[in-house]
């Protein structure tokens, strides 16, 4: 029987790994991820999860452990955050290039210094080119749902890529919400055991990760990109299947919220999306023709969907909880690139909430009203940093 538990985003991750029957968990603790792996350790020691739990000495080794286990055909899981993810960087690329469907939770946290343990997307976004699928979650239920979905997508023989589930530090990781913990049998039906066609097998020795000459390397890279492209349809397909099985739509590639026929569109990622939806409802009640799209997967990047969504809108406001120094927010840059040669709405990028700065409904309302005003006043600046200390009067009542 499925049951509702009131759990943190981190426990939701742990339940996700348990329901998915991850066979090997190789992990190293870091704030604010620690309670994910603590909970899994508890499940394992209580006999509630049949898993080889490998303690390692660093995140680099945690991912190396997942890679080795996944190569043997085991379903693997790990979790990390910020500096831990950065330390994994080399191994992240190994996992994707070896085409191993490792699934991991990354708790989005700011990079230091200044030292910070709070929410910020830069850690994840800095890894967007590593060949991992990236799912940004809005709430704790979606964390669990995305883990189950990710295994199914990533382990598909046409995809065979690793996937990262991202939850915002503290805002999800340490906040309790009701989460439906599904019936194990139902999950087993949705997600059969992992059984890859090629695996490391001592009965049939083979070499893995071998050298290729310049004549070949590029073709392997193209194959990886084809899998990434193919993941778009796969995500939509699995999303549908998920909805049919569990009665819940995790949001596919991009979630549309009241976007039909709108003049103004705002695009958000992660946990600010829920707060933003409340604000969108209020603004619509006041007569503003505004809607919201939530970018759920940064990789693969849903360019076609974005073009479709922006076909008839006048203005697009894009909220980035990170910044690519020397340029702009990454979601904004990629969305603009997708629009080039297709649609040309006015586009403004808002940099928000770095290092866990709170995004209240009040600040979000001011941002969205600013976007609405662009229709009349035209673009005032391409990128605006919101609620800086020197600028609080503009954004707060």
């Amino acid at each position: 029987m499925s049951e509702y538990k009131i759990v943190t985003g981190n426990y939701s991750s742990a339940y996700g790994a348990r329901l998915a029957r991850a066979e090997v968990v190789s992990a190293y603790p870091i704030t604010p991820q620690t309670s994910v792996v603590e909970k899994i350790a508890e499940f394992v020691s209580d006999g509630k999860m049949d898993t080889e739990y490998v303690k390692v000495e660093s995140e680099h080794s945690a991912m190396a452990g997942c890679i080795a286990a996944s190569t043997t055909g085991a379903r693997t899981y790990t979790a990390t955050s910020a500096h831990g993810l950065a330390l994994m960087h080399e191994m992240l690329m190994w996992a994707s290039r070896a085409r191993l469907p490792v699934v991991m939770t990354n708790v989005n946290r700011a990079m230091g210094p200044p030292w910070s343990v709070w929410a910020d997307h830069l850690d994840t976004i800095a890894q967007k080119g590593t060949g991992w699928l990236q799912f940004f979650c809005e709430n704790n239920q979606e964390v669990l749902d995305s883990i189950l979905m990710a295994y199914k997508i990533c382990e598909d023989e046409d995809i065979m890529l690793p996937g990262m589930i991202v939850e915002d530090a503290f805002i999800l990781s340490h906040t309790r919400e009701p989460v439906e913990i599904y019936d194990q049998e139902k999950v087993d039906e949705f997600l059969p055991p992992y059984d890859p066609d090629v695996k490391l097998d001592i009965e049939n020795p083979a070499g893995f990760g071998s050298l290729v000459m310049p004549d070949w390397y590029m073709d392997f890279a193209k194959k990886l990109e084809e899998a990434m492209e193919g993941a778009k349809d796969k995500i939509k397909e699995v999303n549908k299947e998920f909805e049919e099985t569990f009665g819940r739509d995790p949001g596919g590639l991009i979630e549309e919220y009241k976007t039909d026929g709108v003049d103004v569109l705002v695009i958000t990622m992660g946990s600010i999306s829920g707060t933003s939806k409340d604000v969108i409802d209020e603004l619509r009640d006041e007569g503003h023709n505004i809607g919201l799209a939530r970018l759920r997967t940064l990789r693969p990047f849903p360019k076609e969907e974005i073009r479709e969504l922006t076909k008839n809108v006048n203005v697009v406001g894009i909220l980035d909880r990170s910044y690519s120094f020397g340029a702009a927010g990454d979601a904004a840059r990629e969305i603009k690139e997708a629009l080039y040669g297709h649609n040309s709405p006015v586009v403004k990028n808002y940099i928000v909430g770095l290092g866990g700065r709170d995004l209240t409904p009040e600040i979000l309302e001011k941002i969205f009203l600013d976007t609405i005003e662009l229709q009349d006043k035209g673009l005032d600046q391409e990128v605006e940093w919101v609620d800086l200390r020197s600028d609080r009067k503009k954004w707060r009542r």
Binding site: I6, N139, A169, T175, R176, I272, T275, T360, P361, R389
Partner: protein, 304 residues
């Protein structure tokens, strides 16, 4: 939507209280959210926790700035934290104290209630007189004061989900439900009688350390560099709920307490071990380690 803020200290169970309240409301068919202040938790340090309850889906993931209800688990905190901050005028405040609501002098227009949750907790064997665990008792009082959750659902949730001593916790909640005092209509004062500890001293706030004027921070350094000895500004003595009292006649000046104190807050002087109460956080390690049992941990309230 109802937004609730709990004020307690690390170890008193404020976070568990915020969760139990959320569970009780969830059992009644509401959607809920419970979260602690997103910081670094330390035993004894002020802790804030929050609960959101709504008939429709709770999607808001921002912090709570203007609560409808404030719950104070430890009155000593009221010296250090402005517990009334942002509390709505038509809101409610429930305080754990043996005093009448009219004696509390809190600077709010909200209705004020009190209950002696510490006494009730001790009667039911929850914690000790020095460190009572008051979170379930206070929830009983909150249910009775606000009607936010029914007593019955609260009791059910405590019986099922309290981390330990479920029956005693449920009994404590029931007793507090009956013994609630109030409401007393609060009145916001032009110049509050109570000044916060932080306002009484000239300890600079951490943000003031970064630049001269936080509103015009043109002189913000490239990256934060802390002054040497800046740790002296963090008076960890404010976290203390119990304090070490050294019996100098028993103390043999062996220095073991000094070796083990995590805050270097106890020193061996000529007369024996002496505690620096600006920094002693009341962890009790010195009392544990003392080979001749010269140190007793006593309730802080006796000394303030």
């Amino acid at each position: 939507m109802i937004e609730v803020r709990f004020h307690g200290r690390g170890g008193q169970g404020s976070v568990v209280a915020s969760e139990l309240l959320a569970r009780a409301a969830f059992e009644e068919g509401k959607d809920v959210q419970a979260f602690p202040m997103f910081g670094v938790e330390r035993r004894g340090a002020p802790v804030t926790a929050f609960t959101r309850i709504d008939d429709k889906k709770v999607r808001d993931h921002s912090k709570i700035h203007t609560p409808d209800i404030v719950i104070v688990l430890d009155t000593a905190l009221m010296e250090a934290v402005d517990v009334t901050e942002g509390l709505k005028d038509d809101g409610q405040m429930v305080i754990n104290t043996g005093k009448e609501p009219s004696e509390m002098k809190v600077n709010t227009n909200a209705d004020v209630y009190t209950v002696d949750a510490s006494d009730i907790a001790v009667q039911h064997g929850l914690g000790t007189e020095v460190a009572p665990i008051v979170n379930t008792a206070i929830l009983g009082a909150v249910s009775s004061a606000t009607g936010m959750v029914e007593e019955e659902s609260l009791i059910d949730v405590i019986l099922e989900h309290a981390p330990a001593k479920n029956k005693a916790n449920a009994e404590a909640a029931k007793q507090a439900y009956e013994e609630l005092q109030g409401p007393y209509p609060g009145e916001k004062l032009e110049s509050p009688e109570r000044t916060l500890l932080s306002e009484q001293t000239d300890i600079p706030k951490s943000e003031d350390l970064l630049c001269e004027d936080p509103e015009d921070h043109t002189d913000l350094p490239r990256t934060p560099i802390a002054d040497c000895n800046s740790e002296y500004l963090n008076k960890t003595g404010s976290w203390r709920t119990v304090r070490p009292i050294v019996d100098l006649d028993t103390c043999i000046s062996c220095g073991e307490c000094w070796k083990y104190c995590p805050d270097v807050a106890i020193f061996v002087e000529e007369e024996g071990a002496v505690v620096d109460f600006d920094f002693c956080k009341g962890c009790g390690i010195c009392a544990e380690i003392c080979p001749v049992d010269a140190i007793d941990m006593e309730k802080e309230e006796k000394y303030v």
